[in-house]
């Protein structure tokens, strides 16, 4: 029995204007419930892949379907969490969380219900009336995640959301993110530079290569959910982190060797 894939790339290529190919021969299928991390050297097209799924930019060639539709038609089923929290500074936390629903014309009473629920999920129920500048970096990111959750998305696209945070905050938010997913069961695409983060969160890690951006290796992460602090201490977790790191290093080495401006001694 086959499941209907939630995202399907078939031989997708992408270039911006007359520039070089950012993605080439990109083929990949995500099933509902997958937590997929994209990791790779800068310029390998990780963020571009996310933007294509979100319909923020069209594919140059090949086919991409999201929830059985074209990306631009599938907007209602996905949410995006940017690298920065991108909160509106003039709105308090509650109103920020309600923005996506407000844009879709959801009545105020229903918005307030959802807002209370998602703010509780990210443990910021007591910050509803605070303004973004009164929050720490980690708190702002949690508001940003709450805002994405408010739409009850089938698909969450996260573009290095915790990249600017310190290690401790990042680990806490990783655990929180998985805990929330236990309750909501969305599919996730997660761009990151941290191997540890990718392994901890995902059931599939895509290691990408650059020039042009493509999938180099897919690593399956067989660790059982729910994953907790304990998971990070396990032998299996450490072996997986080591393996993904090794692949990533070889990819980065290869892309340095392949780049034309470098000459080997």
């Amino acid at each position: 029995m086959s499941v209907e894939p939630i995202v399907e790339f078939r031989d997708v290529a992408k270039r911006f204007g007359d520039g070089p190919l950012v993605l080439d021969g990109f083929s990949f299928t995500a099933n509902p419930g997958d937590f997929i991390s994209l990791i790779g050297p800068s310029g390998c097209g990780k963020s571009t892949a996310l933007r294509l799924i979100a319909g923020l930019s069209p594919v140059t060639s090949g086919a991409l379907t999201v929830d059985g539709l074209s990306p631009s038609a599938a907007a209602a089923s996905l949410a995006f969490v940017f690298q920065e929290a991108t909160l509106l500074p003039w709105l308090n936390v509650a109103h920020n969380v309600e923005v996506p629903q407000q844009l879709r014309g959801v009545p105020a009473a229903a918005r307030a219900d959802t807002r209370r629920r998602v703010l509780d999920l990210v443990r910021l129920g007591d910050k509803a009336t605070a303004y973004p500048r009164q929050l720490s970096g980690g708190q702002k990111m949690r508001v940003s995640i709450a805002r994405a959750l408010a739409l009850s998305p089938k698909l969450m696209l996260l573009d290095e959301p915790f990249g600017a945070l310190d290690e401790m905050t990042r680990e806490h938010l990783n655990e929180e993110l998985l805990a929330i997913r236990e309750q909501q069961a969305w599919t996730a695409f997660f761009v990151t530079h941290s191997v540890a983060e990718a392994v901890f969160l995902s059931n599939r890690v895509l290691v990408m290569a650059a020039n042009p951006g493509r999938i180099h290796t897919e690593v399956t992460i067989p660790l059982a959910y729910p994953r907790t602090e304990e998971t990070r201490l396990s032998r299996e977790y450490h072996d997986l982190v080591a393996e993904v790191s090794r692949i990533l290093r070889s990819v980065e080495h290869a892309s340095v060797a392949a780049s034309p401006q470098r000459v080997s001694p």
């Binding site: 923020l56 995006f80 940017f82 991108t86 509106l88 500074p89 003039w90 500048r133």
Partner: protein, 269 residues
């Protein structure tokens, strides 16, 4: 910051301007009495100015009211028209390059040259004064508001695109609030220029018909009658008008931006 530190800083903020004021008045008196007796009319003492203020309070109050009317009418008109025009200018760079040169031309023409033209069109008095004040206040408003409307954070624009916001939603919920700090910068400049504009306009296009003369008109009269203390009193009245209008704008900006804008960041946090 501790409570006593804060207290001593507040004291300093009151004490220093007061000390500076006292120093200026002392120097003022010193210059007055340093001058030969027959030249002292050039700089009347502060006490003489206060006397003149009190002796001419009826005519000064009437003139101040007329100037306030002209300044407020012109200022308000400038706010409305510049906001509408800024919306149009923010649509595209092409619209801006097409229209900016003509807006600049209007700003470059000195008021005393525009004044007689204005009088031919709408007649001397309040109408001319408001119209000329409008011209003066208009430019900083339209430039700042337009800049604000086109400077929206790219990430936020992307967010609105992602959620498929309609054009009007993007304008009302994103671009307009993001432009507010810029708008208030323009508003503050306009609030400073408006009373000055109204006074200069009054000198060049005012009318005393029906007690309609403003502070500019009054200054011309006192000057021709060599009533120098009264002339200084007129200057002081104009300053007070400017201060009040500025304070009103600062209050509005504070009400609109205090929660979120960095310029109102509390330093004691």
């Amino acid at each position: 910051m501790s409570g006593s530190d804060k207290m001593s800083r507040t004291m300093l903020q009151i004490f220093l301007p007061a000390a500076a004021g006292a120093f200026v008045i002392a120097v003022w008196y010193a210059i007055h009495f340093y001058l030969n007796e027959e030249m002292r009319f050039l700089l009347p003492t502060p006490a003489a100015v206060v006397d003149a203020l009190s002796a001419n309070r009826d005519s000064l109050a009437r003139a101040a009211w007329n100037t306030t009317k002209g300044a407020m009418l012109g200022f308000s008109l400038a706010v409305v028209v510049s906001s509408a025009l800024a919306l149009i200018l923010s649509l595209s760079p092409l619209v801006r390059t097409s229209l900016y040169p003509y807006l600049m031309a209007l700003q470059m023409t000195p008021l005393p040259i525009l004044a007689p033209i204005c009088v031919i069109w709408v007649g001397a008095g309040l109408k001319s004064v408001s119209l000329l004040t409008f011209v003066i206040a208009f430019f900083p408003l339209v430039v700042n508001t337009t800049q604000g409307l086109i400077s929206t954070d790219r990430n936020l624009v992307e967010l609105f695109r992602l959620y498929r916001a309609a054009r009007w939603q993007q304008l009302l919920l994103l671009r307009v609030p993001a432009a507010l700090p810029y708008f208030f910068t323009g508003l503050r400049i306009a609030a400073t220029l408006s009373p000055i504009g109204a006074v200069v306009a009054d000198m060049n296009a005012g009318s005393s018909a029906g007690d309609g003369g403003g502070l500019g008109f009054q200054a011309v009269i006192y000057s021709s009658q060599a009533k120098y203390p009264a002339l200084f009193a007129t200057a002081a009245t104009t300053c007070v008008l400017g201060f009040i209008l500025n304070a009103a704008v600062l209050l509005l900006a504070w009400l609109a931006l205090r929660h979120w804008h960095d310029s109102y960041e509390r330093t004691d946090r």
